[in-house]
Amino acid sequence: MLELTKVSKLFNPGTPNEKIALMDANLKLNPGDFVTVIGSNGAGKSTLMNIISGVLKPDVGEVRIAGEAIHHHPEHARSRWIGRVFQDPMAGTAPRMTIEENLTMAYKRGQRRGFGWGATAKRRAIFREQLQRLGIGLENRMHAKVGLLSGGERQALSLLMSTFTKPQILLLDEHTAALDPARAELITRLTDEIVRDMKLTTLMVTHNMEQAIRLGNRLIMMDKGRIILDIPQEKKADLTVAQLLGEFERISGHQLSDDRIVLG
């Protein structure tokens, strides 16, 4: 479904601040794969996400979705295939517009936008039904401006907006990291439900080791711009956090360091 071949990216090439963001990364996701990604600070997790979504272009290498090479497409053109939830709960929604209007924009993901009326009655019925799935009462506040919602509510809405049109690839970039534990748990639960129900091919970066093990069917580990370990479902099932950290140290030769890391 998603295939990265020999993808490399340098930041500030040829200057004293040159940094390898991604080096010769190869990754293949099969349809329905739910892959969690862990790694230390600066391991290239976010760069990986940005290269897939088109925020960054690779210096070398190819990105393919369903066989089609997309690494030359700009970000907005890739939205046809990709749904994305950002770490910042404020990033995925437009605060001065209503819940209904935000969902309308998400409904048209990757399609041409013309002079057709936005929030039609038919679409609103779909939105109401979808909002009910979240179970946090947003279906009764469809005319509320999104800026009035809490961070957790906004992130739940972002998650819904990126998924209800069934993208071929779902990218989750530490999307629970900025929330308090209770809200993070809610979003994690919703993510698991939605991805399972809709069988979305998903790549999720997380700093929460326990979450990385519990969710999904595959786990990849990154360090210094490289993918250093790819753990398949069979081995992942009875992995512990301690084993995972031990494995990381064994391969990379240093401890997993991330100032925000949560062991679970």
């Binding site: 979504s53 700009p74 970000e75 907005h76 053109a77 939205s79 046809r80 990709i82 994305r84 950002f86 404020m90 990033a91 995925g92 929604t93 437009a94 605060p95 001065r96 517009m97 209007e101 309308t104 924009m105 998400a106 048209k108 993901r109 990757g110 399609q111 936008r113 013309g114 002079f115 057709g116 009326w117 936005g118 929030a119 907006m161 990126s162």
Partner: protein
């Protein structure tokens, strides 16, 4: 006195289209567009030159609108594709348009005296009729704008100013929506210029000086009166703001020790006050809420301590 207020209402309605244009860039796109000072004249210049050369006045007015759209698209291209800072892109277009406007007219001004225009039949009518016709026309344009801002494309335009990263991730080309918005904005500004040229009977190359500030003043006055809760309220607020501005302007002209040349200063001060006051008020409110909440929380913990 009353006659001057009626006159001010007519002017306010004609300038309201310009203010709606400024609202699109300043409030919706969050892009302070200085092209306005030039494109306002461009609309008047195209319209006046065409009418004085015998073209249909309605066609000439429409051509004025189109001229503004093109000027706006140029600013949009400079900003998005040329990666020029937004303010600078607007200033560059404004300066370029000064020369272009003189080229269009063939001289620094064109007179329309005693020529039939879109507005001339209304000038002969009672002022009430003029106000009614202009009011209906402006409200019609405002309603069309409201409708557009609720279409799929209109929503993408609004989101571009609200959260560009988000709408890009849902597939809108934000360069294109910006260019569209700036184009539409300057089209309305030029349409306003075309109508005011016909109302006043001339176009002068300097009639756009300070137009952006007048537009901002109208937007801000309207906001202060009505708020901006929903799109149709916000656009109505802009129209009313434009009328109120013209009435205040007319009244200020009657104050003895003001010169008419002082009015630009007064407008600038008005805009500065309107921009600063909300910030100060917000800061003060935040401080008082924080203090109150802290005391509440302190009280709670003290209460718990007492019970234990």
């Amino acid at each position: 006195m009353l006659a001057s207020i009626y006159g001010a209402i007519v002017l306010g309605l004609l300038y309201a289209l310009m203010a709606l244009g400024v609202y699109i860039t300043f409030r919706i796109l969050d892009f302070p567009d200085l092209t306005v000072d030039g494109s306002f004249v461009t609309g008047g210049a195209i319209c006046a030159t065409m009418i004085s050369n015998g073209y249909n006045p309605y066609l000439a007015t429409l051509a004025g609108f189109a001229g503004g759209v093109i000027a706006g698209i140029c600013t949009g291209l400079l900003h998005t594709k040329g990666k020029i800072n937004g303010l600078l892109a607007g200033i560059l277009m404004m300066i370029a348009l000064y020369s272009i406007n003189i080229r269009i007219m063939g001289s620094p001004n064109v007179s329309l005296l005693n020529i039939k225009t879109v507005v001339s039949p209304l000038l002969d009518e009672k002022i009430g009729v003029y106000i009614a016709v202009a009011g209906v026309a402006v409200l019609l344009i405002k309603a069309l704008l409201d409708l557009f801002l609720h279409t799929d494309l209109g929503l993408a335009l609004r989101a571009t100013g609200d959260n560009a990263r988000m709408i890009r991730s849902f597939g809108a080309n934000t360069d294109r929506t910006k260019i569209l918005g700036i184009g539409l904005s300057n089209g309305l500004v030029a349409l306003s210029g075309a109508l005011l040229a016909q109302h006043g009977g001339y176009t002068d190359v300097n009639m756009g000086v300070g137009m952006i500030v007048i537009g901002l003043a109208s937007v801000i006055i309207g906001e202060a009166i009505f708020g901006m809760r929903r799109v149709w309220i916000a656009t109505l607020a802009v129209v009313v703001g434009s009328i109120v501005y013209r009435i205040v302007y007319a009244l200020a002209l009657r104050v003895e020790w003001f010169d008419s040349s002082d009015l630009k200063l007064i407008t600038a001060v008005l805009v500065i006050i309107a921009l600063v006051i909300p910030q100060v008020r917000r800061a003060m409110k935040q401080k008082s809420v924080a203090r109150k909440r802290t005391l509440e929380l302190l009280g709670q913990s003290a209460g718990k301590g007492g019970r234990a």
